[in-house]
Symmetry: C2
Subunit: 327 residues, 2 copies
């Protein structure tokens, strides 16, 4: 079992308080941070709960720490910002021991390096289930911030990377899939890669009118940047980018071939809208960053989401999308 | 049961995004906040877990929201800062309904007004037990920030208000105490009052060399501003400020009369050190703010905490102090 005082000492020693911008770090009542003059402060919080967002047997403590940071910094990227500081509030049960905490801290250390952030504070609580609530602070130029609300009819809808891999990877994990098969999909579920560089570039070049990261599935997250703000979206399902592994394996795990791509969550790709006359710039950015960016539809006047196939036949959406809840 | 999408809509409507300094508020990937030029950003996170930090039957949802904000802003006050923004990450179980959420939000609204903060973001997760993780952002002048590490031998140790009321109030609640008796103590447990004005004034006037809020008990929190940083503390137990209710009732609930005051948690009074030549200024501040400030001992050279009575006899401290854990 974890002893809170020992754990706090360990964490304090491990995460030194030096670091650019950190005036007071871990171990005081609050962290004191120098802000960046003229920039907007971005702040977001996201929580991973055991048996709701993750199952302890299929992700290592280090993997859990990394993923919890990855999905939280992703929100900063979706605003066009750069993440800088994180705080971690951990709930742990009587079943976790010092090794769990040690590995979790190792995951935070590697996440600090990978995402360019600094752990500056946190909290430990005992709990009936593990939870890990991550707060991220980041910065963005005020004139560059990209919200969910700027899409106009006529804008093109783009998505980065490929969709549905993570949801399919989770299905494989849950069904204990065949050895080796879909390993890359499982990896995409366990180690999502937030598109920080792309989000910042789109913001810096003012290429995106609205943007969100796909955490709850394309259908639901697309509504959040269109329908919620009074405009509609038309998507051609056959244009949704699917990985080769997805195309090869999806049929074995679902009878709804496009289901994981349309409604599966946790891809953390960027979904954004952009005026049609910026198409060439988008494609040049895609080349430069070596990140696929695919046009999947356009923004329409009525506040409704329509998904069609290439012949124009409408596809009925199954309810919802992947809302993070226990059900 | 709470529907996450409906709940998010409700919260979005309720907490409007207007507000000084809020560029983008609730409902986007991250809040975008204008920082205050030349000031340090303070950030802290604190979590209330059901059956660990609170019992659902003895605190209302609105009371829980208020208390979770109160204890978190208290950390900002203990650095000498002013809290400005909060984020709330809520874990809720299948047992909570829309009314719970509605009341919780009412609690946040009143806390916004009481503590001068603005709810700018958050997160909802289903969970096996309720948890409420609050992140607070605040600001302080860089030259005024008060940390836990500045105490020097010879400094006087002060504490605001009275200690032990909250721990005694919790004992009364747990034992279902007599009707009416100790009501003020129970109130002190359920509705702690963070000393924001005092913390800021001490910082502005550079009166405190080290400061902390008493959340885990005097003994433990005093070590955090002395022993942890290589100096010691000598406290006269008879000088610890106790309320009249405490003196009247403590004997009925514990055989360790000073126990709740020495090791009981959650008083959220300010504990700080200050050079002896600033005594008059401290007392003038106490008069001006109408907050009792009591001298309870002094900082000594060896890194050890000693508690004595007025005759100089040493008092053995029972282990620990009130660390927030389930045990």
């Amino acid at each position: 079992m974890i002893n809170e005082l020992d754990a706090l000492r360990l964490i304090g020693e491990r995460f030194s308080n030096s670091g650019k911008g950190v005036e007071v770090g871990i171990g005081d009542d609050a962290a004191a941070l120098r802000t960046e003059p003229g920039k907007l402060l971005l702040v977001t919080t996201d929580c991973q709960v055991e048996d709701v967002h993750f199952i302890k047997s299929i992700i290592s403590p280090a993997g859990l720490a990394r993923k919890s940071v990855a999905v939280s910094v992703s929100d900063i990227g979706a605003m066009g910002g750069v993440p800088k500081y994180i705080l971690a509030s951990l709930g742990y049960t009587k079943r976790e021991d010092d090794r769990f905490l040690e590995e979790l801290m190792r995951g935070f250390e590697s996440a600090e390096e990978e995402f360019g952030v600094k752990l500056t504070g946190g909290n430990l609580s005992s709990s009936e289930r593990i939870f890990l609530d991550i707060t991220v602070l980041g910065f963005v130029e005020p004139e560059c911030v990209v919200t969910r609300s700027g899409a106009s009819p006529g804008d093109v809808i783009y998505v980065s990377g490929a969709l549905g891999d993570s949801a399919l990877g989770l299905m494989i994990l849950k069904k204990g899939g065949k050895e080796g098969q879909g390993r890359r999909l499982v990896e995409r579920h366990l180690r999502p890669n937030p598109r920080l560089a792309l989000g910042k570039a789109l913001a810096d070049e003012k290429l995106a009118t609205a943007m969100i990261d796909v955490s709850d599935g394309l259908a639901l997250d697309l509504k959040r940047i269109t329908v919620t703000h009074g405009v509609g979206a038309r998507v051609n399902v056959e244009r949704i980018p699917l990985s080769g592994d997805y195309r090869a394996i999806a049929g074995e795990y679902t009878d709804d071939f496009y289901g994981p791509a349309l409604s599966g969550g946790e891809d953390y790709e960027l979904l954004f809208t952009s005026p049609p006359d910026r198409r060439d710039e988008i494609m040049r950015l895609s080349d430069r960053l070596k990140i696929d960016i695919t046009e999947i539809g356009d923004v329409s006047p009525g506040a409704v989401l329509t998904v069609t196939d290439s012949s124009g036949n409408e596809i009925a959406l199954r309810e919802g999308g992947f809302v993070h809840s226990g059900s």
